[in-house]
Symmetry: C2
Subunit: 319 residues, 2 copies
């Protein structure tokens, strides 16, 4: 049985995982989830990326939206606003609140986030082993100028309240340098047959996971194919604000630049979209095997083909 | 301006207060609310009686039901059940959750319950000053036999899960003996022109408030008329399980027995229902002035008349 480790952010990572399950139904998949987007609001601990993966693979996701629950209602959010409680920009759904209540209560009782995530997954049965990258608190902050003043905002505030409007001047995974990989993370990497980077944000999703000391090294030293899929298609992110945060770290928003940012020390293979076929040579010159295939996750079949292509490239690298 | 202090439980107390506001629109009303029914569930601090008063007087109550919010939904509760989280017998509404989140977060930040209640009332504008009886934790426990075993249950579990089915063998306001009256409680009593006991449960509502050291004494020594309304009509409680908990403390479920339980050291006047007119003499023999008037809060007008009758009896006592 093939053991696959996937580093996942939110929507893109979750959808890719569904394609991977379809492409490799027998595989043993471990997902290392980004927790840098986690936020404490209204006394609740909210883990957007873990929940997006859990809901998507567990059949509870709002399909069109890509995040949050299907059939969601917003009574709690409306009432909090009626009390004048800030912030009001976060899309807190009622069904989602129950997840956060269970999580918050378990964390308060002393369980680490990895144990809480396992408990939540006992309901959702996502068909993968979902691990937070760390049980420690990491919060991605984005430095922006607002009204002539430089401010560090929580990533969620930058993304949701400001819709990633202002340029990001810096992106800092606060606490990452002191964090330890959650139990099982390094073991899963060490035992993997292949490691995949879905077309997730290379800075605030996969980059944050790699910022936890030990994880990047474990992947680089695992001695197995590491294959990624470009989140940039035709010089623009397929979704989200990868361009904004790539600019903050001085990386151009091109499929080739992202591959070179990961580097051949980490990445063995890289898939770019067919519209970026011209980038294949540049990536290969950087020592990373590269193929151009369709990379739009427009439907489950297309997504499964992307996962198959990634696994095929991994075998090519291995051979 | 007449200053009225009212000791209030939940539904009965809240409805009476609405009648009192109608009967004495110019009065300055302070409500001392029972917190013995408070419960911690799902990491939330829930104060059923305070909320029932706040929602009823603030226009947010579910009118037919008497507790909870109008237009309430139950997505959070359904989801918690889907996670298998216990208990599942508590009727946690989505709108209500927002109140509990605000309260829990403020308590966690160090505000006392009295300050939290004031903050919540800033939205609801109940038209009274609502004070919890204490900022300290008090929990009413009910001892019952279940399956041959004697157990102490939280009052909410006895009332909601068991629907007050088993006989109550004892009722204990755990923590009351160590509790202090909340800021403003003793001052309000000392400055009152009249103190009213609505037709609330004499054991688990008004009895719990009186169990906080200092409150009973302050009322007895205030030197102003103290008038109550019988929650027992025709030897049965108008609503709730007063008969069960009265039996636990050895008091018969009659209008006269409840008046004598409070005693002439505390109570100056007592209203019984017209069907209990035969009890007037027994109450007056116990040194408590008594009148028989209609005591069914069947509509706002009837409730306002009850409040008027209570205030009239207070003036009679004072004269």
């Amino acid at each position: 049985m093939q053991r696959i480790v996937v580093l996942a952010g939110g929507i893109g990572g979750a959808r890719f995982l569904r394609g991977l399950q379809s492409a490799a139904p027998e595989a043993d998949i471990t997902v290392i989830g980004n927790t840098g987007d986690d936020i404490h609001l209204f006394g609740l601990k909210i883990c957007p990326d873990l929940d997006t993966v859990m809901y998507t693979l567990g059949g509870g996701i709002h399909e069109e939206q890509g995040w949050g629950r299907a059939g969601e209602t917003f009574a709690v959010k409306e009432e909090l606003a009626a009390y004048g409680v800030e912030p009001q920009w976060f899309g807190l759904g009622d069904r989602d609140v129950a997840t956060h209540l269970v999580r918050t209560q378990m964390l308060g009782a002393g369980y680490p986030l990895s144990a809480v995530t396992e408990a939540l997954c006992a309901r959702w049965r996502p068909g993968v082993r979902l691990l937070p990258m760390t049980d420690d608190r990491v919060e991605t902050h984005v430095a922006v100028e607002e009204g002539g003043e430089r401010k560090a905002l929580h990533f969620q505030e930058y993304w949701i309240r400001l819709r990633a409007g202002p340029d990001a001047q810096a992106v800092v995974p606060v606490g990452a340098d002191q964090a330890e990989p959650a139990p099982g993370v390094l073991e899963a990497i060490a035992e993997a047959d292949v490691v995949l980077f879905p077309p997730s944000n290379p800075v605030v999703s996969i980059g944050t996971i790699l910022a936890v000391p030990g994880i990047r090294e474990a992947i680089a030293e695992a001695g197995v194919p590491v294959v990624g899929l470009s989140p940039i298609v035709g010089d623009a992110p397929v979704r989200g604000m990868a361009d904004k945060v790539l600019a903050a770290i001085g990386v151009r928003s091109t499929a080739a630049a992202v591959a070179r940012h990961y580097g051949s020390g980490l990445l063995d293979g890289w898939l770019v979209d067919t519209v970026d076929a011209g980038a294949v040579d540049e990536v290969e010159e950087a020592g990373i095997r590269c193929r151009a295939v369709p990379l739009m996750m427009s439907d489950p079949e297309a997504t499964a083909r992307m996962a198959s292509d990634a696994l095929a490239l991994a075998e090519e690298v291995r051979a």
